[in-house]
Amino acid sequence: MWAYEDLVVKAVEYGGKIGADYVEARYHRLKRSSIASRNGGVIGAESSVSEGIAVRVLAGGVLGFSSTTILSREGVSKAVEDAFRKARAISGLVKKPVKFSDENLGRATYECVEAVKASEVSVEEKISFMSELWKRVSDAPSDARVATLTSFLRESEEVKIYANSDGAFVRSRIPRLSISYNVVVTLPSKGTIQRFFSHSAVGGYELAEKWRILDYLPEDVKTFEKILKEGKKPPTGKPIDVIVGSEIVGLMVHESCGHPSEADRILGREAAQAGKSFIKPNMIGMRIGSEHATVIDDPTIPGSNGFYLYDDEGVPARARYLYKEGLINEFLHNRWTAEVFGTHSNAAARSAGHWGEPIIRMANTYLKPGDHSFEELLEGVKYGVYIKSYMEWNIDDERWSQRYGGLEAYLIENGELKHLIRNPVLELTTKKFYSSIDAAGKDLRFYAGICGKGEPAQGVPVWFGGPDVRLRNVVLRVTGE
C-alpha cells in the first residue's frame, strides 16, 4: 500500500538540493468504482484510479506547485524542477513573500477499516439493491408517476504519503462509500417535484444498510406526490416563525460560517474564484448571532465524510470553534495564513488529489445542538412554517446573502403541523439567520456533500449538519416569483 514512499522522500531531498526554501511532496491515490442505474436498469460499471505525486516549494517567497503522473525518479525530479523554476521566474512580481508558521508536525500512519469491504460484496447484491429501490419507489405514488430514478453506488479508497522539509511524514488510507440518487415525480396537471440526495461516509458496505434508503425513499416519494396534490402557497410578506430542518441548517452553517471563516478567503487569496468574506481580519470576538449560534468544524469525527487526523501540511487535526455562543471565534488556518495572523495552523489544509495544491477547507461543520425536542420547538410557534428539506440554494461570494428553496415544508398553527406548502424560500442575511435562532433541537444529524474551491476547482468530501432550529420573525418568499 505504501509504494512510492521512496519517491516522496527523494522529491523532498531533491528540492532542498536545488535551492528551494521549503519542499513538500505528496503521493495521492484515489481508486474508485461505481455502478449507475436508471429506473432499475443498469447503465454500466466503472473503475478508475487517479494517482500521482504533488510537489510544492517555496522559492524567492513564491509558492510553486507541480504535479506529475509519471511515477519515476525522472518524472518526479522534473516536477520538483518545474515548481522551483517557475516560482523563481515570477518572484519579481511578488510584494509580500509567503512564509509558513512553525508547527509541531506529525510523523504517523493511520488507516480507517471497513466492517464490510465494498469490493468484496457481489455485484449481484449491489444491482439487486438498485432494482429493489426502483421497484419500491415506482410503486409508491398512487396517482403521480416516478418519471426517473437515477442512482449511483460508489466506493473509493484514498491513500496518501506526505513528507516535507520541516520533518512531517504522514501516511493514511481512507475508504468511503457513497449512494446518490435523483428522483423526479410528476403529476401532469400539477407539475413535477425533483429531489437530489447523496449519502457518503468513511467506511464500507455496512453503510448501505445503515442509511435505510429502501425504507425512507418510497415514503418520501409519497410525500412528494402529496406536495404536488395538496401543497399550498406559503405565507409571504409578513414576519413569521420558521423551524429550519437540520438538512438546511447543515448547509447554512457550511456556507455562512465555514466558508467565510476560511483565512485564505479573508486574506483575498480566493477573491477571483470562491470569493471574499464578510469577515475581516479584525473581527474575532464580534457578535454574529444569538447564544445558540455555536458552529464547530471537526475533522476527527470517526466515520465522517471529511475525516482526517493530519492535514495535507502534516499538522495534527482538532475541532475548530468557528462561531462560539454567537461570537466570531476562530478562523480556519493553514501554515501560511497562521503566519500572517501570528497564530498556529489548525490543520485546515486539504487537497482533492495529486493534481491540487493544499488549500484551506472545511471537514465536518455543524451547529451545536440545543436541548429542545422537535415537539418543543413546535410548541413555541403560534403561526409559522417548518421547512424540512431543500433543492435550490445559493449565497453571495462574501457569504452574506443566502437563499434556500424549500422542498418538503408545512404550515404550523398553534404548535401543530398543518398542511403542506410548496416552494417556500428562506432568503436572508447571515447575521439575520444566526441572530434569529431562539432554540435548537437536541438531535444532531449530518449530511454529505462535496465542497468545491480552488483553481483548478477541487471537490473534497465533507459533512455538514446540525439540529432543527427555530427562527423568530422571518419573512419568506416563493420560488420563481
Binding site: G41, V42, S47, S48, L71, K96, V183, G191, R269
Partner: protein
C-alpha cells in the same frame, strides 16, 4: 508524441480484446499545463501539471464497463478491466448499449496549436506581466485572477478501426478587480495566446470595478435585464448541458417533454454547438467514439433543433449520433450564439428601464424539469433609466425559470466575446443578450 500515444491506445485496445471483451475504445490524453494565480495584486502561486491519463471503454455481451488511469499505471488499469470483466458476467445488459460506430473519415481541424501558447506553457511570465500591468491602468484597489496555458495531445483507438490523434493549445484567463464597494470580473478563452486580448480582458474587469465603486439597493421585482456575455454564457451552459441526451434520460432537463421542432425560446435566439470553431477551446475534429464532429444548432431561431448525442443516447432516444460522444455520456464541445445587430448603446436604449448584470455565480435549480432557478450577481450590476446607465446596484438575484428567460429574449448585441472560466465551463462565444420582464429577488432582512 501523437505516434507514441497512438501506439499506446492501440496496444490497450488489443489487450482489452485479448481479455475477452467484445468492443473497446481507448482515449489517452497527454497534457502539459501551467497556471499563474493572482491575488491581492500579485502572483499567489504558480502551478504546473504533467499528466497522461488513459480512459478505456469496453463492452461484453452488451454490458458497458469503463476504467481510467494514468498511462504510467496501465497494468493497474488492465487489472481493473479484468476484474470488471469477471463481474460483468453477473450484470444484466446495459439499458444504454449500442455498438461502437464503424470508423469514418475525419477532416482534421487546423489552427488548434499556437506556437506562442506552446512556448508560454514553460514560461508564462510575459503574459502574466501583461495582465498585471493592464489591470492597473484604472484606479482600482486590488485584483485577483488566473492565467492558464496548456498543451494537450489526445489519441483514440477503437476495435472497429478508428485511429485518430489531435493536439491543441488552450489559453484560459480571468481577472477580478476591486474598487470601493465595487468589483468587476471578465474572462477569456482561446486556442491562441493573444496578449492584446489578455489586456482587453484585464482592462474590462478593472473598468467595471471602477464604474461600480458606489452602489445602491434596488427593489426586487420584474426587470428588463441586459445579460453580459459572462452571464449569458453561464445560463446558456446550463441550457446546452440540458440538451444532451443523457440529461434528458436522467431527468435533468427542461427538454424532457420537448421534441425537435418545438418552440423553446424567442425567435431571436440561435444557440450552436461548434466543435469546428478552432478559436474556441473545446474545439475538436472527432468525438470519443471516433465520429467526426460538426457544428449544429441546438436552438435555431427559437426552435429546439437537435439534442446532443453519442451512439448510446441516440439509440435510446431514436436519433443519430451528433458527434458529441464522451466515452459514456454525450458532451457539449463549445457554444456559439448567433449575434444580433445592436451596439451596446442600442441595447441600453432597448432596455429602457432595467438592469445590466455583468457577472453571476451559484446558479442553482429548484427543479431541472421546470427550469426553476436563481443565480446571484457577483460583480458590477448597473441601473438603467431611460436607456442610460445611471448607477450601480448592490447584489441581488435573478430568480425565474429558464424557459421564461429563453422566451423573453428580445435583442442581441452584434459584438461577440469568447468566455471561459469557472462559471462558464463550456467555452462560449456570445454577445450581450437582453431578456425582458425577468424576476429578481433579494434577502428579506
Amino acid at each position: 508524441m501523437k505516434e507514441e500515444l497512438l501506439s499506446l491506445v492501440n496496444g490497450a485496445v488489443k489487450r482489452a480484446i485479448e481479455l475477452g471483451f467484445d468492443e473497446a475504445a481507448v482515449l489517452s490524453v497527454y497534457r502539459e499545463s501551467t497556471m499563474v494565480k493572482f491575488a491581492n495584486g500579485e502572483p499567489s502561486i504558480v502551478q504546473s501539471w504533467s499528466s497522461n491519463q488513459m480512459s478505456i471503454y469496453v463492452s461484453k455481451e452488451k454490458r458497458l464497463l469503463g476504467t481510467s488511469a494514468p498511462a504510467s499505471s496501465l497494468e493497474e488499469a488492465y487489472r481493473m478491466l479484468a476484474n470488471l470483466g469477471r463481474i460483468s458476467a453477473k450484470m444484466p445488459p446495459s439499458i444504454l448499449y449500442a455498438p461502437l460506430p464503424e470508423p469514418r473519415s475525419v477532416e482534421p481541424l487546423s489552427g488548434l496549436v499556437d506556437r506562442k501558447a506552446l512556448e508560454a506553457v514553460s514560461d508564462p511570465s510575459q503574459a502574466s506581466e501583461v495582465i498585471v500591468e493592464a489591470v492597473q491602468r484604472r484606479d482600482i484597489e486590488s485584483f485577483a485572477g488566473m492565467l492558464q496555458i496548456s498543451y494537450s495531445v489526445k489519441a483514440l483507438a477503437t476495435n472497429t478501426g478508428s485511429e485518430l490523434a489531435e493536439d491543441s493549445t488552450e489559453v484560459q484567463a480571468y481577472v477580478r478587480a476591486f474598487a470601493g464597494e465595487g468589483s468587476g470580473q471578465w474572462a477569456y478563452g482561446s486556442r491562441t495566446l493573444d496578449l492584446s486580448k489578455l489586456e482587453e480582458m484585464a482592462e474590462t474587469a478593472s473598468d467595471l470595478a471602477y464604474r461600480s465603486r458606489r452602489q445602491e439597493n434596488i427593489s426586487p421585482g420584474k426587470y428588463n435585464i441586459l445579460l453580459s456575455p459572462m452571464v449569458a454564457g453561464n445560463l446558456l451552459n446550463y441550457v446546452a448541458w440540458m440538451a444532451t441526451g443523457s440529461s434528458v434520460l436522467l431527468g435533468q432537463s427542461i427538454f424532457i417533454n420537448k421534441k425537435p421542432g418545438d418552440t423553446v425560446a424567442s425567435e431571436k435566439l440561435t444557440l450552436m454547438d461548434v466543435p469546428r470553431q478552432p478559436q474556441l477551446p473545446g474545439s475538436t475534429a472527432f468525438d470519443d467514439e471516433g465520429i467526426p464532429t460538426y457544428n449544429k444548432p441546438i436552438i435555431e431561431r427559437g426552435y429546439l433543433k437537435t439534442l446532443l448525442h453519442n451512439t448510446k443516447t441516440a439509440a435510446k432516444l431514436g436519433a443519430k449520433s451528433t458527434g458529441n460522444a464522451g466515452l459514456v455520456f454525450p458532451r457539449v464541445w463549445a457554444l456559439s450564439v448567433e449575434p444580433g445587430e445592436m451596439s451596446f448603446e442600442e441595447l441600453l436604449e432597448e432596455t429602457g428601464n432595467g438592469l445590466v448584470v455583468t457577472n453571476n455565480w451559484y446558479t442553482r435549480l429548484q427543479n431541472y424539469v421546470e427550469g426553476i432557478f436563481s443565480t446571484i450577481t457577483r460583480d458590477a450590476a448597473f441601473i438603467v433609466k431611460n436607456g442610460e446607465i445611471v448607477g450601480a446596484a448592490r447584489k441581488f438575484r435573478i430568480a425565474d425559470t429558464l424557459p421564461n428567460l429563453l422566451r423573453n429574449i428580445s435583442s442581441l448585441g452584434k459584438e461577440l466575446y469568447d468566455i471561459y472560466w469557472w462559471e462558464v465551463e463550456i467555452p462560449t462565444r456570445t454577445p450581450y443578450i437582453l431578456a425582458k420582464n425577468i424576476g429578481t429577488s433579494k434577502h428579506t432582512a
